[in-house]
Amino acid sequence: MKILAILLAFAAPAAALAAGSDHVSLASHVFVEHVKPGPGGKPEIVRDEPKVVTPGDRLLFELSYRNAGADPATGFVITDPIPASVAFAGDESAGAIFSVDGGRTWGPLAVLRVAQSTGGSRPAAFSDVTHIRWVFARPIPAGATGSVSFRGVVK
């Protein structure tokens, strides 16, 4: 009896670990987009994964996820704080919500407001976004992959 109880006590944390980070993975990629002359002289957008950028460069942030577990992943939420030197520039994947106050409150950008030093508040703009988040309404099926993305500009 006593041995069984100890085994059970160990079993619960072990199960929690098994269903944890081993089963869902998240990868972050940042691409810089340059317009370069393509075949036939037509301008085309070239994507690189840069080591360095300069102010004004357009960046594409891509977050790829994978459910490597045997069960669907429910309550899946991806959150990305916008780096301080980057201004959010839109083009986000559908369903995103935003924070303009460092992650304290969240909502669609259209309903968020920013307090002004002169008193009152104004509607939030792209440049106010501090965090972007996707709350997945549906579970990620076992074995499924996907990605979300948004654009930013180097300030």
């Binding site: 929690a16 269903a19 972050s28 899946f76 990305d80 704080p81 780096p83 030197s85 992650g103 180097v154």
Partner: protein
């Protein structure tokens, strides 16, 4: 520094109960970029995302993505603007005529600039003779002779922080031959000492913070033209004579009176100061006393409070300052001996 602030947010996200308090702190720690020139060269951009999801036992799991780290290179951008409100007006032959320019470092790193000038430009009437480039040493935006320092290339090249501006003056001499209303153009240029080239040209390792220096949209060189305008008044003299003989005719016979008319017309821009009309009495004639008139008004021969005088050999009328567009007419009479 910035990345640390975000790291604090990410870990706060795990501990949901602490989220609100930590996020407020983190928001305060994120420096507002004050620079229109952009993120300071050498700054690191780090992106890391977090995912949470339900665990089968009712808890919540959290994973972090890999961290993507990108460095911000130095962007070289410089602009020059002529900031006089309009053409700088000066007299023909005027020296130390001042054009004012603003040189702005629009890049994201501290940068030194070589200044240069060009006077031989098209689209103008004359080339000013540029005598000096002067730095606005006391930063008051106005040229102060003896206070502001004359620029010597390679010695006191202006060094500007991101977004910083400085005023630079061009001093010129305007040509004596310039006519009223003529314009002369002068250009000031500022060239990045790190290099120039087509936008996108990269100078490895030259950037502030150890990265590259990349030529921005301005090509690493900025320039602007300013204009001088010469304002000049000129005087045209017209002298005419009318003879009246004692017999009612116009024959030049002894005893005939000649009335000389001297018309001084000022044209151009501005006025002529201390304009004086003088004429000598021709040989073989005798000045007729008290015959000087100015614009129809008689003047005395004595050198006194009125403008006219007779010296014994010729007449003089002081017109003082005559404005452009005005004509002053002096007459006097002589008799043929």
């Amino acid at each position: 520094m910035r990345y640390q602030a975000m790291g604090a947010e990410s870990s706060a996200f795990v501990k949901k109960t602490m989220l609100a308090a930590a996020a407020v702190m983190a928001a305060g720690a994120i420096a507002t970029p004050a620079s229109a020139a952009g993120t300071t060269a050498g700054t690191t951009i780090s992106n890391v995302a977090t995912a949470t999801y339900d665990l089968p036992n009712g808890g919540s799991g959290t994973i972090q993505s890999n961290v993507v780290t990108i460095k911000v290179d130095e962007l070289i951008n410089v602009t020059v603007a002529w900031h006089d409100p309009g053409d700088v007006v000066g007299p023909a032959g005027g020296t130390n005529q001042v054009l004012s320019f603003t040189v702005t470092n629009g890049g994201n790193g501290t940068e030194a600039f070589t200044l240069g000038t060009v006077a031989a430009l098209g689209g103008d009437d004359f080339d000013p003779t540029i005598t000096a480039i002067v730095l606005d040493t006391n930063g008051n935006g106005a040229y102060d002779p003896g206070v502001d320092t004359v620029y010597v290339p390679g010695t006191n090249d202006p060094t500007l922080a991101p977004d910083q501006s400085t005023t630079v003056f061009i001093l010129s001499t305007l040509p004596l031959s310039a006519a009223d209303g003529n314009r002369g153009r002068a250009e000031l240029s500022a060239t990045s000492k790190k290099g120039t080239g087509t936008p996108g040209t990269s100078f490895a390792g030259k950037g502030q913070g150890g990265g590259n220096a990349v030529v921005g949209a301005t090509g690493g060189k900025g320039q602007a033209d300013g204009f001088y305008k010469v304002l000049k008044a000129s005087v045209a003299f017209v002298k005419s004579a009318a003879v009246a003989d004692p017999f009612g005719g116009t024959s030049q016979v002894p005893g005939a009176t000649i009335t000389y008319t001297l018309a001084a017309t000022v044209s151009g821009t501005g006025n002529i100061a201390n304009l004086k009309v003088t004429d000598s009495v021709p040989a073989g004639t005798t000045y007729k006393s008290g015959s000087i008139t100015l614009d129809g008004t008689a003047l005395t021969d004595a050198a006194d409070s009125d403008a006219g005088s007779f010296s014994g050999t010729g007449i003089a009328v002081n017109l003082g300052t005559v404005a452009t567009g005005a004509t002053r007419t002096v007459t006097f009479k002589v008799t043929i001996n």
